[in-house]
């Protein structure tokens, strides 16, 4: 077990290296010379050569990768081509905005999924089950960027209850947990929670109905255990798998909130990525993708370790 945990942690290193390589190669899979993305079309040749040298683009690819990686490890994610300032500070503030959004959406999805899935699992095979399971399939099928628009139409345009865009009054980027800011969080996080809610519902339903049909539950019933006692047994047995699902979903929300962030102009990594793509701001694109992917890798590791630790049925060597 200890061996497994150690091995799993060490395995992070080659994976992270390979992930960095993929992020680095993003510039080079683009058709044409990467320099074209950095300078205006009518730039004189001397300037192009100078820029090429400055960015080390005249050196062989493996050397370029090594230099880039060495800088990244030291916390230097390069300089934005458009803004002309280091990427890191912007990336940190954007990541925290996305983190707030992803956590709220993930938590909402988790709660809704547990309730829906629990009810569907207990009433398996009845019309209640079919309704909840149907809504779960609908949940994972929703194009969330469309749902975001529908939410804006209902709550912002028609009812004028909640703001449609941004993450604070007057376009402020400083987050605070007061009503003035939370108002801005409601619609995006509701939009974001639908897919994890659907997935958790399916998982919980499957687990609960499986566990309820096990022999030991019948035994517990037979010896007269109260309903609340049986629920506790079911929760204990379902928890590891459900936690794993929601952990992975949280990681997916961090990286996948780009569409929702675009709809609601939420100042997170998704918006940053979107802007970087259209301005061909390659350093920002590389850095954002790398940070989100590394976050995903670490969260995957944590989920795996937590699951191994709390679930006695899993024994890994």
């Amino acid at each position: 077990m200890l061996y497994y945990i150690l091995r799993r942690i060490i395995y992070i290193i080659p994976i992270s290296l390979a992930v960095s390589l993929v992020c680095f190669m993003l510039v080079h899979i683009a058709p044409g010379d990467p320099i074209d993305a950095m300078v205006q079309p009518d730039t004189p040749q001397e300037v192009i050569d100078r820029v090429r040298q400055e960015y080390g683009l005249d050196r062989p690819l493996p050397v370029q990768f090594g230099v880039w990686l060495l800088k990244v490890v030291q916390g230097d994610f390069g300089t934005s081509l458009i803004k002309g300032r280091p990427v890191l500070p912007d990336l940190i503030s954007a990541s925290s905005a996305t983190f707030i959004l992803a956590c709220t959406g993930g938590l909402l999805g988790f709660l809704i999924g547990c309730v829906f899935g629990g009810i569907a699992g207990v009433y398996r095979g009845t019309w209640i089950d079919r309704v909840f399971l149907g809504s779960a399939v609908a949940g994972v099928s929703v194009p969330h960027y469309w749902l975001g628009m529908v939410m804006v139409i209902i709550f912002s345009v028609n009812l004028n209850l909640l703001p449609a865009m941004g993450a604070g009054p007057g376009g402020s980027t400083e987050w605070a947990w007061d009503w003035e800011h939370i108002r801005y969080l409601i619609l995006p996080s509701l939009t974001l929670c639908v897919i994890p809610a659907g997935l958790v519902t399916r998982t919980v339903r499957g687990l609960v109905s499986d566990i309820m049909s096990q022999d030991y539950i019948t035994t517990l019933r037979g010896k007269g255990l109260r309903r609340s006692g049986i629920v506790w047994h079911v929760v204990q047995n379902a928890a590891p798998t459900v936690l794993a699902v929601i952990g992975l979903q949280l990681a997916n929300l961090m990286g996948g909130s780009i569409l929702v962030e675009t709809v609601f102009a939420w100042p997170g990594t998704g918006m940053m990525l979107n802007t970087a793509i259209f301005q061909r701001d390659i350093p920002v694109l590389q850095a954002t993708t790398l940070v989100l992917a590394l976050f995903f890798v670490v969260l995957n590791l944590l989920v795996d370790l937590v699951q191994t630790t709390i679930d006695p049925r899993i024994s890994r060597r």
Binding site: A18, I29, A30, H144
Partner: protein
């Protein structure tokens, strides 16, 4: 007599049985009993036909329009579903748009099924170093959230249908490899594969005769479960401006350009999204139904 016999057999043993047709007959019977799958399957067939024959059905061309007729409400005479922000007929654009949305949504899954399935079967069958190589590379691509990978790759490649399809294919290959590998590893160690090897059958013939027929089903069912997601992400790429380029109609792109109309014609602005939602949901229900009917555990 013989039909009753095979029916009983199929009911008793849902797995592949001696008579070639009885497994599929069982699958068919289970599908016919599954109302949700039947309804969703029929909706998909109707949509596919409408999209296929769009040039015959659509009252206007997908890019015909004049600014004078912009944003007419749903039910306007001559424009059943109204007009968009440039005065183009919504019904026609939805019909033509479906061609792009379906094409960009389904093609990556088909490609990933072929490529990922082949790689996964090879990895599972060969084992050893080949397995190591294929599965470790898969791990790397697994380390990216799917939407992020799709956006980053097509962002780097630039907008366009082919780039969108390519980036989505890259996203879906790793999960299919994983499923194919694990199913193949399971089958390879079963007695009949061992027996074939013992009687001197070579690897190609074992793969063709014993492995393929038993692993294709589960891999196929898993691939169908990806179509719903693929439709959403494909249209999402266009929504971001990374897929189909204007003025061509595509549901995600239409949704984006109609965002300016949410104050004046909210119903029209959301129509393309409803199409994506309906398609994706029907694919998911059909995939669920197939999984149950084919008795695949994954």
């Amino acid at each position: 007599m013989s039909t009753t016999y095979s029916n009983e057999l199929a009911a008793a043993a849902p797995a592949r049985v001696r008579r070639e047709d009885s497994y599929w007959r069982g699958v068919g019977r289970r599908l016919l009993r599954d109302k949700a799958t039947l309804i969703c399957g029929s909706i998909l067939i109707v949509m596919a036909l409408l999209i296929l024959f769009a040039p015959l059905i659509a009252p206007y061309g997908p890019t015909d329009g004049g600014i004078a007729r912009r944003l007419k409400p749903v039910g306007t005479p001559g424009h059943l579903l109204g007009t968009d922000e440039l005065g183009r007929d919504m019904l026609s654009r939805l019909l033509y748009g479906g061609r792009y949305s379906w094409f960009v949504g389904i093609t990556p899954v088909v490609l990933a099924f072929a490529i990922g399935g082949a790689l996964g079967i090879i990895a599972g069958f060969a084992g050893g170093k080949v397995n190591m190589l294929i599965m470790r590379v898969t791990d790397v691509f697994y380390a990216f959230p799917s939407v992020l990978l799709a956006v980053a790759v097509s962002g780097a490649l630039g907008a366009g249908i082919m780039n969108a399809i390519m980036s989505l294919t890259i996203v879906f290959i790793p999960p299919i490899i994983r499923v194919a590998e694990s199913v193949t590893t399971g089958v390879r160690n079963l007695d009949y594969a061992e027996a074939a090897r013992a009687t001197g059958a070579g690897s190609p013939s074992i793969i063709l005769v014993h492995v393929l027929p038993n692993v294709l089903g589960p891999i196929f069912v898993y691939a169908t479960s990806l179509v719903g997601v693929s439709m959403i992400v494909a249209s999402g790429l266009s929504f971001l401006g990374l897929g189909i380029k204007p003025p061509d109609p595509e549901w995600g792109l239409m949704l984006n350009t109609l965002r300016t109309a949410i104050y004046t014609q909210p119903l029209i602005a959301t129509l393309p999204g409803m199409c994506i939602f309906l398609t994706s949901m029907c694919f998911n229900f059909v995939s669920d139904g197939l999984r149950t009917a084919m008795d695949v555990r994954a």
